[in-house]
């Protein structure tokens, strides 16, 4: 299992060619209380870097960018009624969607945990 991070503060955890995507604890802290999450459609195809959802906090709306290219195979419907889960458990129950990677080599361009910590100034 691999966990990688983007410069835009998303994480992706890959198992058997499917990545689960969410935002980091640093990102949720910066956003503040999350009040709404817009997720992509299951079956949609996205390219790395595409806007693939929106997370709205009490302060602002932020795009979620696809960390890799692929097909959306599941979305976290529980966030519709409980968007605050993104604040409470960003690396777990607050996941956004699952994506079947079309080009696993794209993961090589993402940061590992140490590099991300440095990027986020932790």
């Amino acid at each position: 299992m691999t966990v990688k991070y983007t410069e835009d503060h998303e994480w992706i955890r890959v198992e058997d060619g499917v990545g689960t995507v969410g935002i980091t604890n640093h990102a949720q802290e910066q956003l503040g209380d999350v009040v709404f999450v817009e997720l992509p459609e299951v079956g949609a195809t996205v390219a790395k870097g595409d806007a693939s959802g929106v997370v709205e906090s009490v302060k602002a709306a932020s795009e979620i960018y696809a960390p890799v290219s692929g097909e959306i195979v599941a979305v976290n419907d529980a966030l519709a009624d409980a968007p605050q889960t993104v604040n409470a458990d960003p690396a777990g129950a607050g996941w956004f969607y699952r994506i079947r990677l079309s080009d696993p080599s794209q993961l090589d361009g993402l940061m590992d945990e140490d590099a991300y910590k440095s990027h986020a100034g932790a």
Binding site: D33, V35, F36, V58, K59, A61
Partner: protein
Amino acid sequence: MTESPELKTTPLTELHEQLGARMVPFAGYLMPVQFPLGVLGEHRHTRAKAGLFDVSHMGQLRIDGADAAARLETLVPGDILGLAEGRMRYTQFTDETGGILDDLMVTNAGDHLFVVVNAACKEADTAHLRGTLGDAVTELPDRALLALQGPSAEAALATLAPEAAAMTFMTFRAMDVAGVPCLVTRSGYTGEDGYEISVPAADARRIAERLLALPEVEAIGLGARDSLRLEAGLCLYGHDIDTTTSPVEAALTWSIGKRRREQGGFPGAARVQAEIAGGAARRRVGLRPEGRAPAREGAEITDPDGRTIGRITSGGFGPTVDGPVAMGYVESGFTGDGSEVRLVVRGKPMPARVARLPFVTPGYKR
């Protein structure tokens, strides 16, 4: 902590930082946008109990002279001559075209008028006032301003100033708070009962700490101040009102007294009187999106067929409403409660309805 040297501070800046606030630049000041409780928690706490806000960045002025009210009336459409001693009133500085230069609170403090203006406008407002009132205008830079808001505000302030409990909404008293001479009004900008307390800068921190020591009082930042005033249907200058909006368009006609409507005598009176008589081409309304997605400032408002009819001026999530809320201007045919409109969010038209303001029932003590 990123402190730009050019940002001004208030007598409570150090306290905010010690309380763990996230500090941001606002109107030239370093101000707390949120405390560790967070915007949602702070909002809900204020509605349930009491919140303490540092609004010391706002401009406090006094106007002296027997003719202060008459002369101030040449700048604002509010009835200042009719303002009884110990009472306060909301009004606006208008320009010659009937646009709004700023909104303000005017208090008849007996031997003078006490005026509170917005932080971002205070230098321009002071110059504007001096242009008409000259030396009668005195800035009060050595005073802090605290707002204590919420249903527990009365009980909380009564622990330091028992006299405050007897006041009613939009009244003023000079009184000692914890032994410090203060100017207290029963007012605020959250839709809740509460007070604004003008306190000598040197005593501000001590009084704030006394209030924060009470279990029902929490420190509240600008983030929750914004969501509270939005739910209360109150205008934020520079967003919901500015020089392009008249008081009638802004649905502030209630703040213009009968005598002023008839007699005019304030900048832009001709336009304001014409709009009162014949209606304005557009008006500020409340908007409730039907889904859960907030529609924010700048979003286009269209009719159900997609024709643009206005724009959102404030919008976000209303924690007490438990859903998205917004305010904006729409063409006169769409101002009725329940009118169906669309709000364009990220290119998509979202169904919404015009809604009565405020979104929450005010808790004012009449």
